[in-house]
């Protein structure tokens, strides 16, 4: 009952760039950048992944320094997130979990919003409509139903299957391998299939749900779950940004055209801890981590760019410099985030404030003032 390693087994494992940085082809999926300059686009992916990793590394360090309460590292999942994030159009809509910092970056969300959540300043209070990027959801799986409902709204707005690329809209629901066991996720498959809703279910199978390996959740490759619900599922090398981009692009198009949902399993690996409070040495072997280090999503793009002569050292240095800049901005920005006013919580519960809560606020304000007076 153990999973065959698809990186070796091949079948329905779509790869376009090997860990060694060689381009390969696939009969069904091609890396397609339309009229853009391919090298430019790949350099862009590289830059995106490096900057995303830097955001992640800085945030991890900030947590270690006590500036964040906790941090959910994405280390190792950059290709899955950038490949998907860069395949989206602005009017597509994303429903993330709590680890899609790379997708957030692609959507243009200021990472300080995310730090704000993990610092405990707020709960991720960004405006989802500003970047068509919904708020982080911590209850496992819940957001897959929100994505499906949103997609049902898209259908009702007539924004699917029209053939107009500026109108047709897809919705991406992120979730993890562990999440695939939740009732909500399976119900979202059912609703999306029943209504033919334009949802791409994007599963980052990073092999672990905290300490539990993927075998606890499924005895077969996860992308095959879709078979049970009557829509297509594919497994892509989640550490191959070109393949993820190609497959996501195809899935988005498939859903936008009104064919109903599609499942993409990005086969990747959580190279770090589950969160900064987790200790993965308790449950997994270091050899496994070593094995996956050889499949690093960034290293293979760099190898490709270097070998093909598509980028020189000066260019790589420039990306590093940009990363340093982002790092510095995050460190300063995080420390400068203002603590919320405790009284604000009473005003945020309802759209229409209640007398009850206004009274509770006033009572608490008076109580706090009594201390001011006492000082």
């Amino acid at each position: 009952m153990s999973l065959v390693d698809p990186a070796r087994a091949g079948e329905s494992f779509i790869q376009l760039l090997t860990p060694e940085g060689e381009r390969v082809t696939h009969p069904d999926y091609a890396f397609d950048v339309g009229t853009a300059d391919e090298a430019e686009v790949i350099r862009g992916f590289y830059r995106d992944m490096v900057l995303t990793r830097r955001i992640d590394v800085e945030a991890t360090a900030l947590q270690r320094h006590g500036e964040l309460g906790i941090w959910t590292q994405l280390l190792g999942q950059e290709a899955a997130q950038i490949g998907c994030g860069r395949a989206l159009r602005p009017h597509d809509y994303v429903f993330p979990t709590y680890r899609e910092h790379g997708v957030a970056y692609c959507r243009g969300l200021d990472p300080l919003h995310i730090l704000s959540l993990f610092r405990g300043v707020d709960q991720g209070a960004w405006d989802p409509n500003a970047h068509n990027f919904a708020n982080y959801t911590i209850v496992i799986g819940a957001q897959t139903l929100h994505a499906t409902g949103y997609a049902m709204g898209v259908q009702r707005d007539g924004a699917v299957g029209t053939g107009d690329p500026d109108r047709d809209t897809s919705v991406v629901a992120f979730f993890g391998d562990g999440a695939s066991s939740q009732g909500d996720v399976n119900e979202s498959f059912i609703f999306a299939a029943s209504y033919n809703a334009p949802v791409v279910f994007f599963c980052q199978n990073n092999q672990w749900a905290i300490s539990e390996p993927i075998e606890r959740q499924s005895r077969i490759p996860l992308y095959q779950r879709a078979n049970g619900f009557g829509f297509p599922g594919v497994r892509v090398d989640g550490n191959d940004v070109l393949a993820v981009h190609a497959v996501t692009q195809a899935a988005l198009q498939y859903t936008r055209e009104g064919n109903g949902p599609m499942l993409v399993e990005a086969y990747t690996y959580r190279m770090g801890a589950h969160t900064t409070t987790d200790d993965p040495t308790r449950y997994r072997m270091s050899e496994e981590v070593e094995y996956w280090k050889l499949r690093d999503p960034i290293a293979r793009v760099k190898a490709y760019l270097v070998r093909q002569g598509l980028a020189d050292q000066a260019w790589f240095d420039e990306v590093e410099r940009e990363a340093d800049e982002i790092g510095a901005r995050l460190r300063d920005g995080c420390r400068a985030l203002p603590d919320p006013n405790p009284l604000s919580i009473f005003d945020q519960v309802y759209a229409e404030q209640t007398t009850e809560l206004a009274d509770q606020r006033d009572g608490f304000a008076a109580y706090l003032e009594s201390f001011e007076g006492a000082r």
Binding site: F95, D122, Q123, G124, A125, W126, D127, P128, N129, A134, N135, T137, V139, A142, T144, L145, H146, A147, T148, G149, Y150, A151, M152, G153, V154, Q155, R156, D157, G183, D184, E187, S188, I190, F191, S194, I345, Q348, V349, Y350, A351, E352, T354, T355, E356, L357
Partner: protein
């Protein structure tokens, strides 16, 4: 003006809301062709189409979870939960998502959702069809919880709930659906949604009910009047937020209060109301606030539900006990 049942009044209210705002959707199990098992959505799918009156797969978490997404896309979903006891599979979506999204996003996401739940007992049903889950929702900040006791309130309150930008748990006393007819003047100006009302004035004891127990309270007041006792009856209408102004006014006059509900007594609405009355009217109280509720057992089989439910006699008994203090 015409005489209508609560069921018809709710149907008319839903229809009006759908007519007024194309973003209003109705969704749930069997709400389409069948018109719901209680026929509250009767005819709506025929008139508004399958895109606006949505038969859902059989999954309550799915209904509420997709409604969250629809609300984020700008729709105003009105979800039907078929029976009270079947709301629990959706409980997580309700308390952790529906209730919290406004707070989580500092108001950037609004949840103009109505969750309609036929609730309460007395219809001779099997298990899970007679529950009163109001306290659990009222305990959850971020939700608003209301219940109607008569057709007129049903007609207006459902429209007000749909118009509200906050999520509203809308509890419908199913036992009353087809029970009593009332004159409905659609042009009348309704009370605000979150206001309670004095259903009958009185001076010696304050009886507080809501939903299905308002009728019982009014009957008790009448019976008490026959014995020369003047009982004031409050119909709460809104359980979260609670509007206890009229109750406090009343208790300050009567000095005595009895709360009546079908839900389990332990940690039911009566507990909160008792605590608040005691806090606010301490020096006016001649007797402790008494509670007449469902017993602290699961809802019993139908052949003995009449014994379980607070009835006229148990309410009168409590009134007597209150007066005897």
């Amino acid at each position: 003006m015409s005489k209508v049942t609560l069921a018809k009044a709710l149907n008319a209210g839903l229809r009006k809301a759908m007519d007024n705002d194309p973003k209003v959707l109705v969704m749930g199990e069997d709400v389409g062709k069948l018109g719901g098992v209680f026929r509250i959505t009767d005819g709506l799918q025929k008139d508004f189409g399958e895109d606006r009156v949505i038969d859902s797969p059989l999954a309550e978490s799915g209904i509420i979870g997709t409604a969250v997404g629809l609300a984020m896309r700008g729709y105003r979903p009105v979800c039907e939960i078929q029976f009270d006891g079947f709301v629990y599979p959706a409980y997580d979506q309700i308390v952790s998502q529906v209730a919290k999204l406004h707070f989580r996003t500092h108001g950037k996401v609004k949840m103009p959702m109505v969750i309609r739940i036929p609730y309460g007992g007395g219809i001779g049903a099997v298990e899970h069809h007679s529950e009163s889950p109001e306290a659990q929702f009222a305990h959850t900040p971020g939700l608003k919880v209301v219940t109607c006791s008569n057709p007129v309130d049903g007609y207006f309150m459902i429209q007000q709930a749909i118009a509200s930008d906050d999520p509203v748990i809308f509890l419908e006393p199913k036992r009353q659906y087809h029970a009593d007819k009332a004159e409905l003047d659609e042009s009348a100006t309704p009370l605000p949604l979150h206001a309670s009302r004095v259903a009958k004035a009185g001076s010696e004891v304050t009886l507080i009910g809501y939903g299905p127990t308002v009728k019982t309270c009014l009957q008790a007041a009448e019976a008490a009047a026959g014995e020369g006792r003047s009982v004031e009856v409050i119909d709460l209408r809104t359980l979260s937020p609670l509007d206890l102004g009229p109750t406090f006014d009343s208790v300050r006059r009567t000095g005595r209060a009895v709360v009546v509900h079908e839900a389990h007594t332990n940690l039911g609405m009566g507990a909160e109301i008792s605590a608040r009355i005691t806090e606010q009217c301490f020096y006016s109280l001649e007797a402790p606030v008494l509670r007449v509720g469902g017993f602290d057992t699961p809802y019993p089989p139908a052949r003995i539900e009449e014994e379980y439910l607070p009835d006229l006699d148990r309410v009168l008994d409590a009134v007597d006990r209150s007066l005897a203090f």
